[in-house]
């Protein structure tokens, strides 16, 4: 059964140095508050998985939490580069990281395979691409019925999945909607999970077929309003596109990145304080 707890407690008890963690969210419902708590608690040697590593992964990489990154698209959507991600791969700063690179189709299938308890995923993918030459986890398999050669990638089985959702009830059942990405698959594929939510309600009011994670597949549930900002929570707040543009300038330079992280993440005790600082800067 899910435990309703503080985010600091959930991260302290569920995420350990050296773990493999998937903090998923496809542009929407990105678990930013949870990522900040991982940084505050100075977790190290993490293997981090994400189809679309964005700002919070840029921060984890730049703050030295990451040993290895498994991903399929690493950019600031509509803006350009993730500068800390680039600096780590191009220049080994703050330390060299390993990376394993896929396409979206393969990673989405690999999460579904993990949730399905299968050892690998099969897809018609990577045809003619150079990616299989550099990623030995992209292999081929012959269809036993037609003889077609298809791509195979290992299932994703994280130690911990971390997601953000709109609502949980008091028993810890979780409801999310809108662009739901691979979050359901990530939680079902993982050994443990942390779910931050916008609010905790008496009754989820989930219609049949809604994306619901029952309490008994969820580890920790933490109420963190606005915990996905600057990404968004459908029905609660919009994506802060202006901040995504501002991040380009903040993260471009090692020193300005470090100063920003110290001021806004390290020196704040939780996400509420972080948000208050960000708002104060935006008004200044």
């Amino acid at each position: 059964m899910a435990k309703l707890t503080s985010l600091a407690d959930a991260v302290a008890t569920q995420i350990h140095d050296g773990d493999t963690i998937a903090m998923e969210g496809f542009t929407h419902l990105i678990p930013v508050a949870a990522g900040h708590e991982v940084i505050r608690q100075k977790k190290r040697d993490l293997t981090v998985i994400r189809m679309t590593p964005d700002l919070v992964y840029d921060q984890l990489i730049g703050m030295g939490c990451v040993k290895k990154l498994i991903f399929s698209w690493g950019g600031n959507p509509g803006v350009g580069s993730l500068h800390r991600f680039r600096d780590a791969i191009e220049n080994g700063w703050p330390h060299p990281i390993e990376f394993e690179e896929h396409g979206h189709a393969a990673m989405a299938s690999a999460y579904a395979a993990g949730a399905s308890g299968l050892p690998f995923a099969v897809l018609r993918g990577y045809l003619g691409s150079d990616l299989p030459k550099h990623n030995l986890n992209i292999r081929t398999i012959e269809c036993p019925f037609t003889g077609e050669i298809l791509a195979a990638v290992p299932a994703i089985r994280p130690d911990v999945a971390v997601i953000h959702a709109q609502k949980a009830d008091r028993a810890g059942n979780v409801l999310l909607w809108g662009i739901v990405g691979v979050q359901k698959e990530a939680v079902l594929a993982a050994k443990r999970s942390i779910v931050t939510v916008e609010e905790i309600v008496d009754d989820l009011g989930a219609p049949p077929n809604a994306v619901v994670l029952p309490s008994w597949v969820v580890g920790s549930v933490c109420c963190v309003p606005r915990g996905a900002a600057p990404s968004y929570a459908h029905g609660y707040y919009a994506r802060d596109n202006a901040f995504y543009k501002r991040w380009d300038g903040i993260a471009r330079d090692r020193e300005s990145f470090g100063a920003w992280m110290r001021c806004n993440v390290i020196e704040t005790g939780n996400f509420d304080e972080y948000e208050a600082r960000i708002r104060a800067h935006a008004d200044a």
Binding site: T27, W73, H104, G128, H134, I179, G181, E185, A242
Partner: protein, 259 residues
């Protein structure tokens, strides 16, 4: 001087390529602007699909990312990302995959992964494949849109992220790829289409006021030019005002001052 910019004619000409009612898997950036312009002008029944899972999106403003709330709110439905890639793309439901590129070669192969000669230690690390490596193979056909320059139109890609016509001729077929491949490349200078036999991209259309020498200079290989070169019809007043209104609405929505 024309009363439109080179980006505007590129977007307008790219939009015109999309038939009303077609099902288009939209890449972010330039393709998204063109696909939405098509929807707002001659193709009101076009079905726009974004890889975040939105099917039939009709955004009022252009999304900054492929998963802005605007795309979900205006969609017919939203599916999970595994479903998007497995049922809808791999399942063969997409007519046109509309992609951007960082580098493109003469056979329409695309690089969005890295610049340099060592994959592990790139000179410039780009975002990577995203959905493109499978959009390029599973979509019925592919349109590519990018600004033309010798830096982007290269003789040899540093990395093949998404396959076009491989080494040309029938070499794409060798891979057992279901889709037709890149049937047109739209740039700020003109349109390139593959030669029916060699599959080499050939300049078949040119925008008004652009010279062939200009296009050659912006191409990193010895560009083939069609015997009869079609000159693009300039943007109409209606196309231009639709596009400019769309960009102005988008800037306001993204917290910038409208131009």
């Amino acid at each position: 001087m024309p009363d439109y910019t080179s980006d505007e004619i590129m977007t307008v000409v790219a939009a015109r390529q999309l038939a009303n009612g077609c099902v288009c898997f939209v890449g972010i950036g330039l393709p998204s602007a063109a696909a939405n312009l098509a929807r707002l002008t001659h193709a009101p029944d076009i079905v726009l699909i974004y890889e975040s899972g939105t099917i039939g999106s009709r955004p009022e403003v252009l999304p900054l990312s492929i998963g802005d709330g605007e795309l979900a709110e205006t969609a017919l439905t939203v599916v999970s990302v595994p479903e998007m890639f497995r049922y809808w793309l791999q399942g063969g439901r997409i007519d046109v995959g509309f992609l951007a590129a960082a580098q493109l070669d003469r056979f329409g192969n695309i690089n969005t992964t890295m610049v340099g000669d060592d994959y592990a230690h790139p000179k410039v690390r780009l975002p990577g494949a995203g959905g493109a490596s499978e959009i390029a193979t599973s979509a019925g056909e592919v349109f590519v849109m990018l600004r033309q320059s010798a830096r982007a139109f290269v003789a040899k890609l540093d990395f093949t992220t998404s396959i076009g016509y491989a080494e040309g001729g029938d070499s794409r077929a060798r891979f057992g790829i279901p889709g037709k491949g890149p049937t047109r490349v739209i740039t700020d200078l003109g349109i390139l289409t593959p030669d029916p036999r060699s599959r080499e991209l050939t300049l078949t259309g040119i925008h008004p006021g652009v010279t062939v020498d200009q296009v050659r200079a912006a191409t990193g290989w010895a560009l083939r030019v069609a015997d009869t070169l079609e000159i693009t019809k300039p943007p109409t007043a209606a196309e231009l005002s639709s596009l400019r209104d769309l960009h102005a609405r988008t800037k306001r929505a993204h917290g910038e001052v409208a131009a």
